[in-house]
Structure formats: C-alpha cells, structure tokens
Symmetry: C2
Subunit: 210 residues, 2 copies
C-alpha cells in the first residue's frame, strides 16, 4: 500500500512544500512554478521536481503545479488529508506548551490536521486541570481514549526516567507513531515508528556547525 522508497529527507521536505502550498492556497493562488515553490521553501527547483517524482507526475509543462491539486496530493501522501488524532503524555511545561501550540494552530489554520485528543499525566494534582479546552487525564485512561478518539500518534513529554514507561503505555494502547521529546532513548516494537525530538539533540547538531 505505502510506497516506502522515498528517503526520510524527501518526506521531511514534503512537509515544507505543503506549508508553502497551504499559504499559497490561502492567498487564492492558482498555480505555482517549481522555481517559486523552491524560493518559498528554501529548496532548489530541481530538488523539488526530483522529490515529487518519487510520488508521481504533478506538474504541467510551462504552467507549473496547480496549487490546490498539489496541496491535496501531498496531504494524501503524508496521511494528513484527514484529522490525525494525537495524545500528549506528560503535562509538564513542555507538554502544556505543545498542547497550547497545537490547539492554537488548529484554531488559526483551516485544515490544520493534528487534533489533540488527549493530555495525560500521572500527577494526581494535575489531573482534571484544563489546558485550552483539553482536560488532563490519568495515563490509565489512555487505552480507552485511544479507542474512542482514534488516537494514532503520541508526543512523549515526560522526564527521561519515565519515557520508556510512557512509550510502553502508548504502544499497548494502540498508538503507532511516537515523537519523543524526553532526553532518553526508548525501545519500541519494530511496527511502531519513533522520532527523537529532544531539543538537546538539535542544539548539539547545530553546534557542530559553529
């Protein structure tokens, strides 16, 4: 079903292209050339044509890409052509900031695909508190919420020592993709996708270029 031959970097760039297309679509722009798409995404036009070729033929010679069509196609490829329900596990500062951020993005941007459908913690003092309309629940409620809301992704924002447990809870509840903000490696079954989002890794990566 899924064409998995596209390299990770191409998938990453698709998300950048979609961001530009969303903005162009909001401006009622009908067509976009690979040159313009490239300038606005910070990628060369040749790279864009090469990236898109992994997935099909989307442009017309001399006209470029139809904005809404390409927007829809990339959204479909990235599985964001319908709401993606996600949970945040860990209602500390970072978890709450990410909850608010994604809630606000969804209010501001028509079609923002990521729906916060659960915010969890183990701290009894936090449970029941409201964060921009989301109620903090005990992590024991996760399996029920995953079934009820169709949650497929989880953001882990617990301390390092609790990350593996949080990830285990998410996986046994049926979550299939995890974005791990905790500064700890977690081990997961091969059928669960894991990305590291620890900002300290980003800082190290960036420092290399100083």
């Amino acid at each position: 079903m899924r064409d998995t031959t596209a390299p990770e970097v191409v998938v990453r760039r698709l998300a950048l292209y979609l961001r530009v297309l969303n903005a162009a679509s909001l401006d009622d722009q009908e067509y976009i050339s690979s040159q313009e798409l490239g300038e606005r995404a910070g990628i060369s036009a040749a790279q864009i044509r090469k990236d898109l070729a992994f997935f099909g033929e989307f442009g017309k010679q001399g006209v470029g890409y139809e904005v809404q069509f390409l927007q829809g196609e990339i959204a479909r490829i990235l599985n964001v052509d319908r709401p993606v329900h996600f949970a945040i596990i860990g209602a500390g500062e970072l978890g709450i900031a990410l909850a608010r951020y994604t809630q606000r993005r969804r209010q501001l941007e028509h079609g923002y695909p990521f729906w916060l459908s659960g915010l969890f913690d183990v701290d009894l003092e936090k449970i029941g508190q409201l964060v921009d309309g989301a109620t903090i629940e005990h992590v024991d409620a996760l399996p029920e919420r995953v079934k009820q809301k169709g949650i497929r992704m989880a953001l882990i924002t617990v301390p390092a020592a609790a990350a593996q447990n949080a990830a285990n809870s998410a996986v046994s509840a049926g979550v299939r993709a995890i974005l791990n903000f905790a500064p700890a490696r977690v081990s997961l079954p091969a059928n669960v996708r894991l990305h590291d989002a620890d900002v300290t890794l980003d800082l190290h990566h960036l420092a290399y270029f100083l």
Copy 2:
C-alpha cells in the same frame, strides 16, 4: 579547520552517542563496546564504527572505547567541549518552556553545554519578568548581549509573521546558528546555519508512516 565531509545524519547520531556516553560516564563505566553503545543508542554497532571512522580512530581492538576519552572527543567534534551561549527570541509559551527546560537540564547535568544567556521579546509587558533566573529583555538589547556573553546560537520562538525579523536581528547581532521553531521559512546569509524545529514539520513527517 572543520572536517565537513560527515553527512548530517552522522552528526545527528554523534549527539545520540554522546548522550549514552554521558550516562555511562556518570555511572563510572570505564569502557564501552560498540555493541553496548549501539544497543543503548538504538543504532547498529557497525553503523557506529562507520560513523566514528569519519573523525578518527577511537577504539581499541577487543576493549572497545574508553568512555571518557570518546566522550571528550565527540564533545570536541560537536563544539560542546566548552559552554555554548545561546539566546531565545520570543518569550511566549514555547520560548519560556524551552528556557526553563534548558536551565533545568543545566542544573541537573554536570557539563550540560548549552547556557541560556539571553531571553528576548518585544512585548513591553513581558520585559523585566524573570524566568528561572533569566530576565526577559527587549530584543534591542540583543547586539549588546551577544557581544558581552559570546552568544553564538539563537532559538526563534516568535509567531510566524515575526520570524524573519527575529532572525535578521539575531544575524546582525552576530549569531551564527539558528534553530527556528516558528512555522515559517526564514532566509539567511549563507554563512549562518539554520535548522527548522517547527513541531508541525515533525508531526507531518511522522504521520507519513501511519
């Protein structure tokens, strides 16, 4: 001076190896095999040996790597063998969460290299407020603070519409590496390194694998 032949993914993995080595060093572990390092970093032993070969010969046949030696070498390669002073531009929720997070990491982890040396905003109501010991200052103070504290990196956590301005301020103040959390592309001179850290890009990337 800088060996720039190492691919981005290798640099990224170095940060993961360093995280494992820091933990091993804390446990007073003297040697680590590529197998153990691999298991703890979630990378194959063969990949680790290949990655490290970009930078030199660090292991001893049959003994593995000396933990403190390899830790020091990787820290040196990543330029984190001395404090890296950074600023956060944008004291909204995400900026404050990241300020607190990095301050706390530095308190908890001996040798955590990233020092928050400035937190900036343009909102006059925020200026003067304290965030875990850091005072929110007006962004106009950035050039002075960059010189005074030796700030080399900046995290941009302003709204999308303000991202380019914030980046311009950082660059003209002398910052040479930027981690952009705003959901907007910014253009920078070629000698400034830019990484995108917009969580929405991570979410799209992850959703592809659903």
